[in-house]
Amino acid sequence: MRRKVIFPGTALPYLLLAPQLAITAVFFFWPAGEAVWYSFLRQDAFGISTQFVGLENFQDLFADPLYLQVVRNTLVFSVSVTAIAMSVALLLAVLADRHIRGRETYRTLLIWPYAVAPAVAAVLYIFLFHPNIGLFGRALNGMGVAWDYRLNGDQAMLVVVLAAAWKQVSYNFLFFLAGLQSIPRSVLEAAAIDGARPVRRFWTVVFPLLSPTTFFLLVINLTYAFFDTFGIIDALTKGGPANATQTLIYRAYIDGRVNLDLGSSSAQSVVLMVAVMVLTLFQFRFIERKVHY
């Protein structure tokens, strides 16, 4: 269902689009163009001289074992966050969709984490997992598990994944719940009469009917894990220990703002930009075709 409005001339539509285009130009195209330009340059350590180096920044980047490790980290982090955030949200949404007592309260409470700032979320997770003051951290150590996410890279990754996923569950939950509620009850009843038990009903009717929602959330969650988790990582681990929780976005920040290597940071930004463009394109192509029924 696409609504079309016919304008008498071309001036008015352009005028109406102008604010949006202006904002996109000033806050996206211009800085993005700058980043692309800087990615071909190299500055000396004091920022006095700048020279054009072509694709050398990119060559250096992909030859750097640390950068490749960061790419791996990012993949592990993003896939884990997306998988956990989506599956937990789906489970909670299915439960909330049932006719249970106090459903409204339950829903409202589930939406809260979304309103928590990333830094605050990180502090909450410190209170939970810190080896000395954290609830679980102390319990784990008490049971003889050598738990210290500040020293152990895998444990650090686990904590940032949990914190990042926890923050995204609310958002996914809202969309899944809306998706579930838009499935006509009679379709589920028809499936029940056709002989499908609840689990079978879920996988053959509910889940397929949710697929547009699921796919939309998949892209949104991957994007979130890629780009919007800087705050959580910075507050929890600062990319450590030994770069174990450095993701692409965090590395770009470190190289640009801390190591003052603008050329490499810009090249990394360009790589990220290409990644998100591919993701978005994929979303549009796929959503247009496959996921609708």
């Binding site: 028809a190 029940a192 056709d194």
Partner: protein, 365 residues
């Protein structure tokens, strides 16, 4: 091939009672239509039979087996929903075969049954389509096909025709009737449409406020409605009701401020002056009677004319006359006693004529 027995089924939603002890027994291959105004509990009754709702009290027995506690899946029934409830992400073939696939029917058997049902319903060319690519009538057929291929013990229809346009509704009605006859499957059909009820049902259950007001064949319900609700619900235009009182000996009724009508079939019980409601169908008035009717709306329908008017008492009357409209001005109408329905004025229940009074046995002197 199955029978269905509904025993004293009651249902309350919280504190709100919606069904008060429904009893019904359906013979093998019979088509029962449950009809009533919205909110009378007819859909709830159907959903209880399907297992989608739990009865608060009472039992559901299908072919001798008590299924009251069973899940819908275990009852071997099929249901056609008002909004068809097709699976939007499946093709017509997948929609129709879903129940068979779940039951693990072998693939060649599934293909055979679906092909047969599709043939019967004229869906053979549409098996690869998705529901959204079908018209309303075709979706309706797919919903029917989904029920047919399962070869269930019982068909349940929940107002399946009310989302179709008028013309298609009439065509599908006839088709459902033919299919049901041909397959001989015991069926329950819920509708609020009295024409559907009359044409489809072997027997009707007329429901009123959670009670079965009458269970009988369509013609019996039309000829001998059990109470004023049934009398007013079945028949179009609706039956006229006139307040009246019983005359001496129960031989007739005095219409309020008006003439006396003698009962053609015998006296009614009760004291003189007992409050009655007389029911007269619009087509059962005679022209040239003692009641002066002032018409205020005349609807010529071609082969007949419907006249709405008032008696001097203010009582509204609807009249159906064969042929062209009568002239202007007040017309005299009379009641044909052989078509009179007599109801109790307070309870609304039908009052039958008493059998002829036997002379008292002679007492020996």
């Amino acid at each position: 091939m199955a029978t269905l027995t509904v025993e004293r089924v009651s249902k309350s939603f919280g504190k709100v009672p919606v069904l008060h002890g429904i009893d019904l027994s359906v013979a093998d291959g019979e088509m029962i239509v449950i009809v009533g105004a919205s909110g009378c509990g007819k859909s709830t009754l159907l959903r209880i039979v399907a297992g989608l709702e739990r009865a608060t009290e009472g039992r559901i027995v299908i072919s001798g087996a008590d299924v009251t506690r069973l899940e819908p899946a275990e009852r071997d029934i099929a249901m056609v929903f008002q909004n068809y409830a097709l699976y939007p992400h499946m093709s017509v073939f997948e929609n129709m075969s879903y129940g068979l696939r779940i039951r693990g029917v072998p693939k060649p058997e599934i293909a055979r049954r679906v092909a047969q049902a599709a043939e019967m319903l004229g869906l053979s060319g549409l098996l690869e389509r998705r529901p959204r690519e079908l018209s309303g009538g075709q979706r309706q057929r797919v919903a029917m096909g989904r029920a047919i291929v399962r070869e269930p013990k019982l068909f349940l229809f929940d107002e399946p025709l009310s989302n179709l346009d008028a013309k298609l509704r009439v065509a599908m009605r006839a088709e459902i009737k033919r299919l049901q006859r041909r397959l001989g499957v015991t069926s329950l059909f819920v509708t609020h449409d009295q024409v559907e009820a009359m044409t489809l049902g072997d027997r009707l259950v007329v429901m009123n406020q959670g009670r079965a007001a009458q269970v009988a064949t369509p013609m019996e319900i039309f000829a001998r409605p059990a109470d004023t609700y049934v009398a007013g619900f079945i028949g179009s235009p609706a039956m006229n009701f006139l307040p009246a009182t019983l005359t001496e000996g129960g031989l007739g009724a005095r219409i309020a401020d008006g003439p006396v009508v003698r009962f053609a079939d015998g006296p009614r019980p009760g004291m003189a002056g007992r409050s009655l409601t007389l029911g007269v169908r619009p087509e059962h008035f005679a022209l040239g009677g003692p009641l002066p009717l002032s018409p205020d709306l005349v609807e010529p329908l071609g082969s007949e004319t419907v006249v709405h008017g008032r008696l001097p008492s203010g009582q509204e009357i609807t009249l159906r006359l064969p042929g062209a409209p009568p002239g202007h001005g007040t017309i005299g109408i009379g009641i044909r006693p052989e078509h009179l329905h007599v109801f109790d004025g307070k309870t609304g229940l039908r009052l039958e004529a008493e059998p002829a009074i036997q002379p008292p046995p002679r007492v020996a002197a």
